[in-house]
């Protein structure tokens, strides 16, 4: 074993053992399962809102998929497109 191997081994043992010798960190960290949402809103909901507004998604489907009541935008694209007729 050369000097570097010994040095890295000692250093590794110290670093790896440090959490095992400490109990306060463990208490602070708390390991409740399922703590993954952090109560934050999901920006991907934007896309479903856009689908709803542009008529790609029916209102009842939006509500079924998100579990939320749809805040229907007045004059949805679907209606607007029908009025406008530019794509039909």
């Amino acid at each position: 074993m050369n000097i570097w191997t010994a040095f890295f081994l000692v250093l590794s043992v110290v670093i790896l053992a440090s959490p095992l010798l400490s109990s306060s960190d463990a208490v602070r960290n708390g390991f409740a399962s399922g703590l993954s949402h952090n109560g934050r809103p999901d920006p991907e909901d934007n896309e479903l809102e856009l689908d709803l507004a542009s008529g790609r998604l029916a209102r009842e489907d939006y509500e079924a998929m998100t579990g939320q009541k749809a805040k229907l935008v007045s004059g949805t694209a679907e209606d607007a497109l029908e009025d406008d007729g530019s794509l039909s």
Binding site: N2, W4, T5, F7, F8, L9, S12, I15, L16, A17, S18, P19, L20, S22, S23, D25, A26, V27, N29, F31, A32, S33, G34, L35, S36, H37, N38, G39, R40, P41, D42, P43, E44, N46, E47, L48, L50, D51, A53, S54, G55, R56, L57, A58, D61, M65, V73, S74, G75, T76, A77, A80, L81, D84, L87, S88
Partner: protein, 665 residues
């Protein structure tokens, strides 16, 4: 410094092994319901092992890099892949030119990704951490086992240290090759992260899609790097090998394409799991098979089982990779079987014309493509086992199978984004498809009018126009909805819709980039080629181009002798510029001349010239090709890159209704 690097590599192996065990014990203790401080500390210690392994591998990599820059030929690996005349830039890339160095690069990148993933997600996916750490470290330990005991880059030169090295393979002395291997490796290694978290979620017993949400950025970015790596490899083959093409369905090329195909299917399929709770078993299967194919590709590249210009020589590593590959696949599939009840779909398909059905079909197509490539790649081995004769499958097989599949895929790219979720009505389908269909017809007419008669190329142009039309309709509808709801002019609304829905519109830009790539590929059947031997002042013509051979020169440099020819190019009689194809003879590799092709590009084609032979009296043989649409391939890569950047760009944090700061990257 070499001793330090070697020591760091050895200790990294033990640290990684310890971390693997600690994470496993921590994970299993969790299943027993033992949420005790001791378990938490063990898991934290295993996470420290990941960081430490990364640190130690960084030291080992720095030591090897320094050895290359110092041309320290006391290391056998440095002797084999560099010499004193090699520039420092290529001395750096010689790091990953051989078996040992490329394994070290892989291990270092894996440790980096593992450390980053565990650090970034430590608060979000806490319950998955022990299993994810276990899987990531198990993989790292495997590579460290090989590096320490089978293929060590710090092995010393046996006997007296030579004054100079053997040098780097001339084919690898190309700017594309500088970044091609690391780019591919980032793709391979990055996909280990979603693989690890997917399996962790399964083992923990969670049926939700949190792991998908948090590892999505790893999937998308890794997919992008893998794709760029493939394109760079194609570009290298195009400019360095001199045969005029960029893809030959070589087993090692296939090795990188297969995981890219399944990763593409996975990337699409996870959207449906997030939205509708469907395709869970598909997604798990896709990420497991993607990882399997990554290891399979590494196995065929490094085992010497299948001959290829890209493969490393025959080595004992093959057996290790074979065992690892089988164990990985079997354990993964066993985990899926064990937790199959969690993977039951939450919804079923409401209509065959729904967006979900389009995604399912996309999945099937990508999987079929991956399987066909896999089958063609292993067929020589299978035929040798069963019939005793090695039957190689040529490009004809791959093109016959994959061209029709790719055309259906393009059609889906045009149709899928326009389909509604769940149950679209017939009237709506007619309304949204009218404009893209008109675009498609215009594409077909344009192809026909420009003299193209190849059916595949015409179909590619038709579907490309259809995809463009569908993206424009999507953007228009989104902008219209935004403008109607919030006011403002349509262009501004379109801009806001893109910025507000980066994932979706980033994806559409990626589709447009893929259209350019498909167009580049569609030019292949239209290639025109001429070969000829001429003397100075004679000319040779191909299509509307004429090339006048001006002269030949012999140019010696520090590390090579180049035979350089100069041709003046004309298009319909108008001078375009000069082409300078070369043959190069490198020091220590005189028997392995390389071809440096010369290319004049414009928006629609490449004029490609390779010097294939020469005589001292000035006579020279050239291969001249007109390669239509090839420049679109490379431009398509940039467009895909822009789309990916847009898709993964973090959202600004929004205020939560409760007042807390929210949002996520």
């Amino acid at each position: 410094m070499n001793a330090m690097g070697d020591a760091a590599l050895l200790v990294a192996f033990f640290v990684s092994l310890y971390g693997t065990g600690a994470a496993l014990v921590g994970a299993l203790a969790g299943h027993g319901g033992g949420a005790l401080a001791g378990r938490r500390n063990l898991i934290k210690s295993s996470r420290f092992a990941v960081y430490l392994t990364f640190g130690l591998l960084t030291i080992a990599s720095a030591a090897l890099l320094k050895a290359f820059l110092a041309r320290d030929f006391s290391l056998l690996y440095v002797f084999e892949y560099s010499n004193r005349s090699l520039s420092d830039a290529y001395a750096v890339t010689a790091f990953w030119a051989g078996q040992e160095g490329s394994l070290l690069l892989w291990a270092w990148l894996l440790a980096l990704c593992a450390a980053l993933a565990l650090f970034l997600h430590r608060d979000k996916l806490r319950d998955l951490m022990p299993w994810a750490t276990f899987i990531l470290l198990l993989n790292t330990s495997f590579f460290l086992l090989l590096l320490n005991f089978v293929s060590n880059p710090f092995a010393l030169f046996p006997g007296q240290i030579p004054p100079d090295g053997y040098g780097l393979n001339p084919l690898l002395q190309n700017p594309g090759m500088v970044i091609h291997p690391p780019t591919l490796f980032i793709g391979y290694v990055g996909l280990t992260v979603p693989y690890a978290f997917a399996l962790a979620s399964l083992l923990v017993g969670r049926s939700d899609s949190d792991w998908i949400k948090h590892t999505r950025i790893w999937t998308v970015v890794s997919w992008f790097f893998l794709g760029v790596g493939i394109l760079l490899g194609a570009e290298w083959a195009y400019v360095e090998l001199g045969w005029g093409g960029y893809w030959a369905w070589d087993p090692v090329e296939n090795a990188s394409l297969m995981p890219w195909l399944t990763a593409t299917a996975f990337m699409h399929s996870i959207m449906i799991q997030q939205r509708r709770g469907m395709f869970k078993i598909w997604n798990m299967g896709l990420i497991i098979f993607t990882y399997f194919l990554i290891i399979f590709g590494t196995f065929i590249t490094r085992s010497g089982l299948i001959s290829s210009v890209h493969a490393f020589g025959k080595s004992s590593l093959g057996t290790f990779f074979l065992v690892f590959m089988i164990v990985t696949l079997v354990l993964g599939l066993m985990a899926v079987w064990w937790r199959r009840k969690l993977l039951v779909t939450e919804n079923s398909l409401d209509s065959l014309l729904s967006r979900e059905s389009a995604f399912l079909l996309t999945n099937l197509i990508f999987s079929a493509m991956a399987f066909s490539v896999f089958w063609g790649t292993i067929f020589p081995v299978l035929s040798e086992i069963t019939k005793g004769v090695k039957i190689t499958v040529g490009p004809g097989f791959y093109n016959r199978v994959n061209v029709p599949i790719a055309l259906v895929l393009m059609l889906l790219m045009g149709v899928g984004p326009l389909l509604a979720w769940r149950r679209p009505t017939g009237a709506r389908i007619v309304r949204v498809f009218t404009l893209p269909a008109v675009f498609g017809v215009m594409g077909a007419v344009a192809a026909f009018a420009s003299g193209i008669r190849n059916v595949s190329t015409i179909l590619v142009m038709t579907f490309s126009a259809l995809i463009l039309g569908s993206v424009l309709v999507e953007l228009y509808r989104g902008a219209w909805a935004h403008s109607g709801a919030k006011g403002g002019p349509l262009p501004l609304a379109a801009f806001k819709v893109i910025l507000g829905n980066r994932r979706r519109y980033g994806g559409y830009i990626v589709h447009l980039g893929m259209v350019l790539i498909f167009m580049g590929l569609a030019g292949a059947p239209l290639t025109r080629e001429v070969t000829g031997t001429i003397i100075p002042n004679e000319s040779i013509s191909v299509g509307d181009y004429t090339l006048k051979y001006m002269n030949m020169r012999w140019v010696p440099t520090k590390d090579r002798l180049a035979v350089t020819t100069r041709l003046k190019a004309f298009h319909k009689g108008q001078a375009l510029g000069y082409l300078v194809p070369e043959r190069r003879f490198y020091e220590n590799r005189e028997d392995q001349p390389t071809s440096e092709v010369s290319i004049l590009s414009n928006w629609k084609e490449d004029l490609y010239v390779a010097l294939t032979g020469y005589n001292r009296d000035g006579r020279a043989s050239f291969r001249i090709l007109i390669n239509p649409f090839v420049p679109w391939l490379w431009v398509g890569g940039y467009v895909v890159g822009f789309g990916v950047l847009l898709a993964v760009w973090p959202h600004r944090r929004r205020a939560h209704p409760s007042g807390a700061q929210g949002g996520q990257p």
